[in-house]
C-alpha cells in the first residue's frame, strides 16, 4: 500500500507553503503507520489550532480538529473512552508549549498512552510569524523585531522531567530517523513525545535570513548530531537528536481499569 492511500486526496494539494516541513512530517507519519500495518479505523488523530493542526484534516483516519492547545485534553478523553485505539496528537510548538503548555506537562505526568508529535518550527506561522516558547534567544520574529530575549524550552528535557516515558528528537532532514522514532513512539505503551524540528521558510526562514527550504534542511543537517556521537561530544553547541527516554512505567488507562475493578468488587 502506498502512503497516498492513507490520505484524503480530495484536500490535496495541501495548503502548507512551498517547502514547509509539515508536509514531510505527514509523509514520515504515514510511512510509520504503513510499516506498522495499523488499520485506518484504529487511529485517532486529534489536533488543536495552527499550521500543524491542519495535518489531521489530510489523513484518512478518525480525526478531531479541536481548540488551540487543547488537543491533548480531547485526546485524553478519547483514549479513556476507547483505550484500544491509537491516539496520535500532532501539535505545533506554540500549540503544545504555550497555549497548551499545562495540558502538555500533565499528559506527560499521567503517562497516558498517547503519541504527541511536536512539530517545532520555532514560530507561529499561521498568524503571521510571532515568536513562540521554542524560538529562543536571538530569534527574529514579527513580535520581536529587535530579536527575542526569551529563553527557549528544551522540549525533550521538559517532557522527560514531566514524566513522559518515551522522548525523541529528530528533524525533517533526517526522514528515515523520523519514521523509526515515530514507529517506536506509536508502539510505546505510555506517553510518548517526538519533537521534529521543521522548517518554516515563509516566516522563520525569511525573518532569520535562513534561506529557502533547502538551505534550512542543510542547516538541520549541520547543526544537529546524534546523542552519544563523537561529533556531539566535541561540539556541545550542536542540537542533540536521538532517544532521550524509553522506559516502562504504569500506564494511565491500565491503572484506571484497576480502579474500576476495585470499585466493582465493593
Amino acid at each position: 500500500m502506498a502512503v497516498q492511500e492513507y490520505i484524503r486526496e480530495r484536500f490535496f494539494p495541501q495548503m502548507w507553503c512551498e517547502g514547509c516541513g509539515h508536509g514531510t512530517i505527514l509523509n514520515s507519519l504515514l510511512r510509520a503507520i504503513e510499516d506498522l500495518g495499523i488499520a485506518k479505523s484504529d487511529i485517532v488523530m486529534t489536533s488543536g489550532i495552527g499550521c500543524s493542526a491542519r495535518i489531521s484534516g489530510y489523513v484518512d483516519f478518525h480525526s478531531l480538529h479541536t481548540m488551540h492547545g487543547r488537543a491533548l485534553a480531547c485526546a485524553t478523553g478519547v483514549k479513556m473512552a476507547k483505550p484500544a485505539l491509537n491516539v496520535i496528537v500532532p501539535m505545533g510548538d506554540g500549540d503544545a508549549l504555550a497555549i497548551g503548555g499545562n495540558h502538555f506537562i500533565h499528559a506527560c505526568r499521567r503517562n497516558i498512552d498517547i503519541t504527541a508529535i511536536v512539530m517545532n518550527n520555532r514560530i507561529y506561522g499561521m498568524t503571521g510569524g510571532q515568536y513562540s516558547p521554542l524560538s529562543g534567544v536571538g530569534t527574529m520574529a514579527t513580535t520581536a523585531p529587535y530579536s527575542s530575549i526569551d529563553n527557549a524550552f528544551d522540549v525533550a528535557e521538559l517532557a522527560k522531567a514531566a514524566g513522559a516515558t518515551f522522548v525523541a528528537r529528530t528533524t525533517t532532514y533526517h526522514v528515515a530517523e523520523a519514521v523509526t522514532y515515530l514507529k517506536k513512539a506509536i508502539q510505546h505503551k505510555g506517553f510518548s513525545v517526538v519533537e521534529i524540528m521543521t522548517q518554516c521558510p515563509t516566516y522563520y526562514g525569511r525573518k532569520n535570513k535562513k534561506g529557502d527550504a533547502v538551505e534550512m534542511l542543510k542547516w538541520f543537517k549541520e547543526s544537529t548530531a546524534k546523542l552519544g556521537s563523537k561529533e556531539l561530544e566535541n561540539n556541545p553547541s550542536l542540537i542533540a537528536r536521538g532517544i532521550f527516554a524509553d522506559e516502562d512505567k504504569p500506564e494511565y488507562c491500565s491503572e484506571y481499569n484497576k480502579i474500576i475493578e476495585r470499585a466493582s468488587r465493593r
Binding site: 497516498q4 490520505i7 494539494p13 502548507w16 510511512r31 529557502d212 527550504a213 533547502v214
Partner: protein, 72 residues
C-alpha cells in the same frame, strides 16, 4: 532475489509546489525543476532507489515505483 529496478518515478505535477528539496538532496542528481518550476525526472537511469525524494517530499507528490512491485 532479483536486483530491484526502477520502473518509474511518478511525480504528481498538480501537487508539486516546486520547493526543490527532492532536486537538492538526490544523491544522483536524477531530478531537476522544469521551466514551470515543477520537479521532473531527467536521469532515471542513475536512480539507485534510495527513495529519499519520495520520503522528503512535503507535498506527497513523488512515488518511486519498482519493476518488481509492478509484477506482484
Amino acid at each position: 532475489m532479483a536486483k530491484k529496478k526502477l520502473k518509474e518515478i511518478a511525480i504528481n505535477q498538480n501537487w508539486c509546489k516546486g520547493c526543490g528539496i527532492c532536486v537538492a538532496f538526490c544523491p544522483k542528481n536524477v531530478l531537476e525543476l522544469d521551466e514551470g518550476g515543477h520537479s521532473t525526472v531527467v536521469r532515471p537511469e542513475d536512480c539507485i532507489l534510495c527513495r529519499l525524494c519520495e520520503m522528503r517530499c512535503p507535498d506527497l507528490a513523488i512515488r518511486v515505483i519498482e519493476e518488481e512491485e509492478d509484477a506482484q
